[in-house]
Amino acid sequence: MGMAEEILLRINGTEHRIHCDPATPLLFVLRNQLGLTGAKLGCGLEQCGACAVLMDGVSQLTCATGVGEFQGRDIVTVEGLSNGGTLSAVQQAFVDAGAAQCGYCTPGMLIAAQALLDENPDPDEADIREAIGGNICRCTGYVQIIEAIKLAAENLREAAQ
């Protein structure tokens, strides 16, 4: 273990001042120090995507990347996607399309989908596959997840008109 430092994190719009070794993976800080348990530990090697958060709008894995790398960045976890009790368009589309089964990969999938739609409001199937290509789901076979992301894109485009 390295030396603990004071680290400033901005997560879901709130500033957090924490004290820890900057090499500690962000995921463990989120889960163990900040009570944000939405992001999940799947592999610990950044091979499955369950731990994804948005970092400055980009999907970033957190199970092996030290919290120090996230200083000064704008971090959004799955808890930050919804607005109070109102689900975001992507979350609602996952519910409507039946895209979650066990729910374990779902937070990471939502983050990857959100990052995609923020960048590309009209993704085709290949774009969606690319965007969630680093997120492994064992339950769904991906079909309903891809359908959900298409649905979210449609709903967002309609809302924007």
Partner: protein, 796 residues
């Protein structure tokens, strides 16, 4: 696309699931999210050798490390606990959470550290000094079967855990009378379900109450029983909290060794103890691998393509600690002839132990490898006769007017329409155009192939395969219980008796309760009782919950409705047969002004004893325990017995292209038609089937737990094991057919396993179709790129 839509309001209608809202907001509560005051964390030390004698363990340095509370070795644990439950009669095979005297596979846990954090426990683990004497392992299952091979469990006396022969029907006569026969070997290599959430558990011994509380990522029957048995405490001293969300399982979440380990530590230290596997623990040391099977099969068939008889020898490698693994050779007896009119079967099932991590039940309980072998057999007969692969299946199909159909091993298939499902998948695939597309790719000098495969999915469960393999296990119950309550304000609560790992059981219970009581399912709360308050259950295995939990909650709803009607009859002073129930209100048939509303009836039931019929108990609550249909019988004099009640059917048609240079397989298209009777929730069933296919694609092309010939484990990460991602799994197109089961509450059958039963066979059929112009064939799974490349180009 449902051919016979049931007359229902909620069942079989598209509805959102109850569970998804908590998952999309990140508010699922998984075992990693369980915090207990004063909780300690455990890490376990893996043995580096495939087989080694443990001479001495010196953990004094680890114990001295700040933050470490205990170091436990196998000797201490073996003295204080009983061996873990094994299903076969093999008293010389002792499975323990930590290796004792002899370590039996690379990765087996030999010691455990309990500390203030997992990080401290891992650091302390590094300080444990183990003095080993490595000895020769046995890795190859055929070598293990030979007398004189190194023994994994010397006390057992050989490596053969089970070797049984079954003959159903006139096999020798059928072979003698058939026009032709062929034989082949098919190999299903070791893989598993590998959920994204590893196994984890928290145990907390309460000395005041004398109760061990357990929170776990679990999916298995009799978990509490096995904890109690190993710890030597009464069953009612174990309370498993079943409202923990389980992050995928598909059969394998059976961390009994983990739980006994932390249960013991919790009792010893009087602290809550948590053990969550990391990915390496899970892949290499979690005792969670699946079937690893060699089939030697002979097929007798006639010139017209009719398959008459099978002789099957299945040799399965159960690893070092078998648990219930060997019984995965038994369940396939339920559908040993698949959907075909094959007249007789000889089946030899052999389970051996080797120096690998242990085998547990995997999606389909052994049926996926067997169906792969069976469908290879059908394709080979077609090829030998120059017959179309669809035509040969049509000729051999059991016909719709033959149900219930008793197949040779004694199981009756409940219902089905296999030709109709085949027609639907061909129409969905636009089969002629699909063939034209394949042929066009071939004409451009590339390799392409279409797969054809079917499968039966036995659903509902039953324990009789265990009896067939071990008659000491005279267990004929395979029940499921449920409870339903309506409170004084009219709110409904369903209580299920087990955990859920993604199958949407809360939605299932709410949908059926809503249907039966005419109330909105979204307003129905569904909870998971803990094991001390739960009704009897056999857990969500065996594609059984739609059938069994569905039947149990239907029974509870019927009892509630009877209570409601009795209250209404008493208060309206009208006989039952003149009352009408509608949406929870009860009125007099010819005088609708005389009526009691749902809220009035619920209020009377809970608050107004003076208005209850004589003898009625206050409140509205009902329990129902349902025995599995057709279960409960021991085998007849010929050894025939019903295994599983309900049989779903699927037909799969994929199109693949193979890069002739690299051997890389690309799934261009994948079509499936399925028939699981009445679908309770269409999105859930669709997700089960599509997910099963993706899992099957993994088993067919990528996934493998590889051991080096010297026994070292080579597949410790997702990148080595090869989990399929969006780049490997195509957008599967699906359609349904509905042949209701006559045995279940709403005509439903199972759907959790079929995609994984048919998928591997279908992909194997497609790859072999692509290779056939080169005169090549592959009869092993996975068919990894390197294997195909070597076959095509001769360069390893």
């Amino acid at each position: 696309m449902i051919s016979q839509a049931p007359n229902t309001r909620y069942v079989a209608r598209k509805r959102r699931t109850q569970e998804d809202k908590r998952f999309v907001t990140g508010r699922g509560v998984f075992v990693q999210d369980i915090e207990r005051p004063g909780m300690l964390h455990v890490a376990a030390l893996p043995c580096p050798y495939p087989r080694a004698r443990i001479n001495n363990i010196d953990f004094s340095a680890a114990l001295a490390m700040p933050g470490v509370h205990a170091v436990l070795d196998g000797a201490e644990l073996a003295a204080a606990t009983n061996p873990l439950y094994g299903g076969l009669k093999t008293p010389g095979v002792k499975w323990r959470p930590l290796a004792f005297e002899l370590s039996r596979y690379a990765g087996e846990w030999v010691a455990a550290v309990a500390a203030d954090s997992r990080a401290i426990a891992e650091d302390a683990m590094e300080l444990i000094e183990v003095d080993y004497t490595p000895t020769d392992p046995v890795i190859d299952p055929e070598e293990a079967y030979q007398a004189g091979s190194p023994q994994v469990h010397p006390e057992h006396g050989s490596n053969v855990l089970y070797d049984g022969e079954f003959t159903w029907g006139p096999v020798d006569d059928d072979f003698a009378a058939a026009d032709h026969s062929l034989s082949f070997r098919a190999r299903w290599h070791r893989s598993s379900t590998v959920p994204i959430e590893t196994f984890g558990a928290v145990a907390e011994w309460d000395e005041g109450k004398g109760i061990l509380d357990v929170w776990a990522s679990i999916q298995m029957p009799n978990y509490a029983d096995q904890i109690a048995g190993a710890m030597g405490i009464p069953l009612n001293a174990v309370r498993v909290h079943q409202d923990v969300d389980v992050g995928g399982s598909y059969g394998v979440k059976r961390g009994i060794k983990h739980t006994v380990l932390i249960g013991y530590l919790s009792r010893k230290l009087e602290r809550p103890i948590r053990l969550i596997e990391d990915r390496l623990d899970n892949m290499g040391g979690g005792d969670a691998h699946g079937p690893d099977r060699i089939f030697d099969t002979q097929v007798a068939y006639n010139a017209d393509g009719m398959i008459k008889s099978l002789k099957i020898r299945a040799l399965d490698d159960a690893g070092a600690y078998p648990g219930r693994g060997p019984f995965q050779l038994g369940k396939p007896i339920a559908a040993i002839v698949g959907p075909y009119t094959i007249n007789s079967v000889h089946y030899e099932a052999i389970s051996v132990t080797t120096n690998k991590t242990g085998q547990v039940p995997v999606r389909g309980f052994g049926q996926a490898p067997t169906n792969y072998m069976l469908e290879r057999a059908v394709d080979k007969v077609a090829a030998a006769l120059g017959m179309d692969r669809i035509e040969i299946r049509r000729r051999n199909f059991i016909q719709p007017d033959q149900f219930p159909y008793e197949q040779p091993s004694g199981t009756k298939y409940d219902s089905g329409n296999y030709p109709a499902v085949m027609d639907k998948v061909l129409a969905l695939a636009n089969f002629d155009a699909l063939c034209a597309r394949r042929d066009e790719i071939r004409s451009e000098g590339r390799l392409a192939g279409i797969g054809v495969a079917t499968c039966l999915e036995p659903g509902g469960g039953n324990n009789m395969f265990e009896y067939l393999m071990n008659p000491a296990a005279e267990i004929t119950t395979f029940m499921e219980g449920a409870e339903a309550r309506i409170d004084g304000e009219g709110c409904i609560t369903g209580v299920m008796a087990t955990t859920t790992s993604g199958q949407g059981h809360e939605t299932l219970v709410a949908t059926i309760l809503g249907e039966e009581l005419g109330r909105e399912p979204d307003d129905i709360r569904v909870i998971h009782a803990d094991t001390l308050t739960a009704m009897p259950t056999r857990s969500p295995v065996a594609s059984r919950m739609a059938i069994m939990l569905g039947g149990a909650i239907t029974g509870a709803a019927a009892k509630l409705k009877a209570q409601i009607m009795a209250i209404a009859a008493h208060n309206l002073e009208t006989p039952l047969d003149q009352l009408e129930y509608s949406g929870g209100d009860v009125s007099v048939r010819n005088d609708p002004s005389r009526k009691l509303t749902w809220n009035e009836i619920c209020y009377i039931a809970h608050k107004q004893y003076h208005r209850l019929p004589e003898g009625a108990a206050p409140g509205l609550q009902a329990q129902h325990v349902w025995q599995v249909p057709l279960g409960g019988q021991l085998p007849d004099a010929d050894g025939k017995v019903q295994l599983y009640p309900c049989f779903s059917f699927q037909a799969h048609i994929p199109l693949v292209e193979i890069d002739p240079g690299t051997g890389k397989v690309t799934l261009l298209e994948y079509f499936i038609a399925h028939d699981c009777g009445t679908v309770i929730n269409p999105d859930i069933v669709r997700g089960m089937i599509l997910g099963g296919i993706a899992h099957g694609i993994g088993a067919a092309l990528y996934e493998k737990f590889e051991y080096a010939p010297d026994g070292q484990f080579l597949s410790a990460t997702f990148a080595d094991y090869l989990m399929p991602s969006t780049f490997e799994v195509p957008l599967v197109k699906d359609t349904e057919h509905c042949t209701p089961s006559p045995l279940t509450s709403h005509g439903q059958k199972g759907s959790g396993e079929g995609g994984y039963l048919g998928g591997p066979a279908a992909v194997a059929s497609a790859v072999n179709d692509a290779l056939s112009p080169r005169g090549l064939e592959i009869d092993q799974l996975p068919m990894r790129m390197s294997l195909i490349e070597e076959l095509l180009n001769g360069t390893p």
